[in-house]
Amino acid sequence: MKKRNLLWRILVTVGLFAVVIASGCAQETKSTPSASPSAAPASQSAAAASTKATPKTVGTEVKIGFITTAGGPTADLAPRARLAVDMALKEVNAAGGINGVPVKIVEAEGRNDPQEETKVLQRFASDDKVLAVLGSVSAEPAMVYPLVAKLKLPLITSSAAPSDILKASAPYGFTFLLPSTDMARASIKQAINTHKSKKLSSIYVGDLPNGRTFGEQTMQVAKELGLEVLDPITIGARDTDFTAAVTRLKGQIASQGADLVSIGHAGERVGVIVAEMRKQGIQIPVLAAYSAVTQGMINSGGQAVEGVIGATSWADDNSDPLQAKFVKEFEARAQTESPKNTKADYSSAYQYDVVRLLAKVMQDAGVSNAPENLAKDRELVAKGLLSVKDFSGVGGKISIGENGQVIREVFTIIVKDGKFKLLNRCLPSNC
């Protein structure tokens, strides 16, 4: 009797689980209409009907890979990026997807680890059969970028990729981030004009290739612009205690007269370092790396980061109507979705633009999405990206150079009242 009761309970439990799982799946299908053509919105159906006569694109979904970095020092960017990608995806699919076929984002976590990122790229290429990949990669692009040339898979990220690495990944590797030398030049010039700076101290991450590249390039540009450059102070990518590094900086200021410091790290860490500087009584002007011009810097630094200068392609007071629309929608969604109450910044704008740009390129190139044409479609996307000119991105026009490097205006900004205020804007060639 006891055994029968036990069996009955197990059956009931398994049944309940099955019901819960089934209802969950049904809910998921309902909540993602874009995943199914039958549930596509009216505009999408109309678009599909209009292309029915000459179906350029086939299949039930066009797949784009999305590498996220929820771990490591840039972890604060991941949730914002996800929200921005989702916004763009909904827009693209509401407008009919790619010739009537909805776009699907296939997300994978790269863990901010180049080995994991290469695995993800290989999986995207062979298993998921995506047409292109977006997202951000770790601070070791030399280990990741060249792989896409081998896989013949377009990769467009918001991460720094030096020109030699882009060359090694051509014509499939692209970066949406402006060259770090251009941004360093713009911000150092601004500091020289505003503060009459003469001697530069640098604090940067010494145990990551991109951190070292940033630090060395900044020092090189500073020398070219006539500044005296002092010995750099390196910090670890995973460090959370910066008291010793800041005290060392204090020593440089006292003994060698440094009057400007550039800090290269992710935004939230730069905020912490500047706060520690102010705590130790250091008041010299600060230049933040492009990677630091994020909401994370303002959140972690608070009042201490007021006056920090940086160069990026984002300014909160940019009057661009597309930016105003993007910010309004992003922040409205952030009221209720994760990450809650966050603000739009350059990283989220990049991801939003990349999804829209990829969709436009795919549409214009007329990708077929047929399994037998996968390689040809990827090649079309790569060629299409290389010919992008004056695409309307958030904050301004975007073009892509022949080496896969984005061409857009550099914005020099200053943190004022917790916002990134525009000081100057110029094309890299004129900065």
Partner: protein, 292 residues
């Protein structure tokens, strides 16, 4: 010796004291009870963030500190109930694995509740800066050092001078014999976890105050550094744990201050290995306390 060197020494003492506080908790749990709680750093993290939340809700610093410490105590107790109690008669490996799982779980929950970003740690504690000549230190530095010294003496007194402490040491030596002489191990083990939790929570809060910001990922580092300090100090010796914590803090700070942060952890762990090769019982440990 210039003023920057003395400033770095102050930085090292502040950092090392926070390691020392966690190490003292480890000495109680692992050194004395042999309970290897690898989620102890996460207990510190829970206390730190609960204190922050309490401060954001408007509680004054003492109340927020107490709330954080209580939350850490509850987290520590929960770890004892979930990761140790069911496995009292099992091999020590199972609780170790269970606490690793608990550590990841607590970190995930914290990320969901407070986000993965580093957060500015403002809990209402007035950070006042004092200058003695060219050397500067803050009220946070004073609080860290005073708290560490007071807790070290209080715990040493508890373990070596009270009936409860004798009971804890008795069950650490041999549970069966302790039972035979009328000592109930259960309540004493629970007590050790309840005491260790708030100490870790307070350590985390002090780290937050000292570092200006905290993220949910800092617990892991606290666990490793706390364990290293405990081993280096001599397992059961709380003075040793404090001394080792301070040494680790000083070595780290001097590496960053005068060489490169890239070797910070590498040098600490290399010195740890070297120290144990030369003196396996730890700096202040005795051979008699060592077990195979």
């Amino acid at each position: 010796m210039d003023e920057i060197f003395f400033q770095q020494i102050i930085n090292g003492i502040a950092l090392g004291s926070s390691y020392a506080l966690v190490a003292v908790g480890f000495s109680l749990m692992f050194g004395i009870l042999r309970a290897a709680n690898l989620a102890h750093g996460e207990v510190a993290m829970v206390g730190t963030f609960v204190c922050l939340t309490a401060a954001r809700l408007g509680l004054p610093f003492p109340a927020a500190l107490a709330t954080g410490a209580i939350a850490a105590g509850v987290a520590s107790l929960a770890i004892e109930r979930i990761c140790f109690l069911p496995y009292r008669k099992h091999d020590y490996v199972i609780p170790v694995l269970s606490t690793i799982g608990m550590s990841i779980f607590l970190q995930s929950i914290a990320i969901q509740l407070w986000g993965s970003d580093a957060t500015l740690y403002k809990v209402g504690f007035p950070s006042v800066r004092y200058e003695i000549g060219p050397i500067g230190f803050t009220s946070v530095h004073i609080m860290i050092v005073v708290t560490t010294v007071v807790l070290m003496f209080a715990l040493t007194y508890l373990v070596y001078r009270t009936k409860v402490g004798r009971g804890i040491r008795a069950i650490a030596e041999n549970v069966e014999i302790a039972r035979a002489i009328g000592i109930k191990p259960g309540p004493l083990i629970v007590l050790v976890f309840i005491i260790s939790g708030p100490i870790a929570g307070i350590a985390g809060i002090l780290v937050g105050l000292n570092n200006t910001a905290v993220s949910p990922f800092f617990g892991l580092e606290m666990t490793f550094k706390g364990m290293v300090a405990m081993f280096l100090g001599g397992m059961t010796n709380m003075y040793g744990a404090v001394l080792a914590g301070l040494l680790i803090g000083l070595v780290e700070v001097l590496m960053v201050g005068y060489f490169s942060a890239n070797y910070r952890d590498g040098v600490v762990y290399a010195l740890f290995i070297l120290a144990l090769l030369i003196r396996p019982q730890g700096l202040l440990g005795t051979v008699a306390t060592r077990r195979v």
